[in-house]
Amino acid sequence: MIKREKRRYLALEVVNEQPLNEQTVLDTVQSSVHRLFGEYGASKANLKLIKYTPEKRQFVIRCSHKELEHVRAAIASTTTINGKTGAIHVLGVSGTLKALSKKTTNI
């Protein structure tokens, strides 16, 4: 039997002054992963945007659990968002959305 791929959900917060949409934040994370780990690494990360809360500037992404540290490194290395200075902070990481929402009650 083929085992289902394990995933990790990351709650993130954008620190940036300009208005953002969900495509911009996902593109920022994906381009960071691509810049640091290349196309091969980006394909293994298997990133997907799950939820975006524009008023809190917080969002949830999903990635492969084996690539969690690489994705976290790529997120930490982000210094520009949409051409302007900014940062993305990880608020919490979990294996399920339910546990993540418990960890980060404000998202």
Binding site: V15, E69, R72, A73, A76, G86, H89
Partner: protein, 243 residues
């Protein structure tokens, strides 16, 4: 629960509001201890003002002094004058002689090397052996990894990979710090730990370098600077008052 420390938060002391913002941000990111580099002529008022800001932000402050001596003699003179005034002494080694002297001197806590000129990174096997005997730590700043781009970052990561492996082999403690001058370059401790995967430092070592290693350095120095300290392993446990 781990207590995290950032021993090199370069807050602008001339701009108190920005300094306060950065200290509050460090606390919000999950740090319990921050080291702020001060001038050798820092006054008690400046230090007490910083302590007040830190206590309001619920974060512990360690006073730090950065040296950039040109010769080993200059280093020794500075250490003689200033060691007992600060909780952390970091030496940025620009020459090999200074690097060797700093590594074998027990008064030096952190060894730093240039992030732009990689020819001036002298942390090799010999340096690591001296540092392991003198209890100095190798300090790796992580903000330059965020600031540098393309080939400069690649070259820096390559040097860091070699140095981290050397330090692990020689059992030299590694201390990870931000070196951030702006809040945009500040990250949480676990994010910094994830960044160290870029130079192949194991996650357990990275977390130790952000928590236990800096705390051990600061607590050891606080003990040494306390009036009850006599010599390594000997300290005053009580004083009898005269009748």
């Amino acid at each position: 629960m781990k207590r995290f420390a950032d021993l090199h938060l370069r807050v602008p002391l001339e701009d108190p509001s920005k300094a306060e913002t950065m200290i509050q941000k460090a606390s919000a990111l999950g740090y319990n201890l921050i080291g702020i580099p001060l001038s050798p002529h820092a006054t008690r008022e400046q230090i007490s003002q910083l302590r007040h800001i830190c206590s309001e932000a619920k974060v512990d402050l360690a006073t730090r002094l950065n040296f950039s001596p040109r010769t080993p003699n200059e280093l020794l003179q500075s250490l003689r004058r200033l060691r007992r005034k600060f909780e952390i002494i970091a030496v940025r080694c620009h020459t090999k002689d200074v690097a060797r002297q700093a590594a074998k001197d027990r008064r030096v806590d952190l060894l730093q090397f240039s992030v732009t000129n990689l020819r001036k990174r002298f942390f090799d096997e010999a340096e690591a052996e001296l540092a392991s005997q003198a209890l100095s730590s190798l300090e790796i700043e992580l903000a330059p990894i965020l600031q540098l781009t393309s080939f400069s970052r690649v070259r820096l990561l390559s040097s860091l990979r070699r140095e981290a492996a050397t330090a692990e082999r020689a059992k030299v403690p590694i201390t990870l710090s931000s070196g951030a001058t702006d809040e945009h370059f500040m990250r949480g401790p676990r994010d910094y730990a994830a960044l160290t995967t870029l130079f192949d430092l194991p996650m357990s070592s990275a977390l130790r370098a952000l928590s236990e290693n800096p705390w051990v350095t600061v607590e050891r120095n606080r003990k040494k600077l306390s009036p009850d300290y006599v010599a390594p392993g000997i300290h005053v446990v009580g004083r009898k008052t005269g009748d």
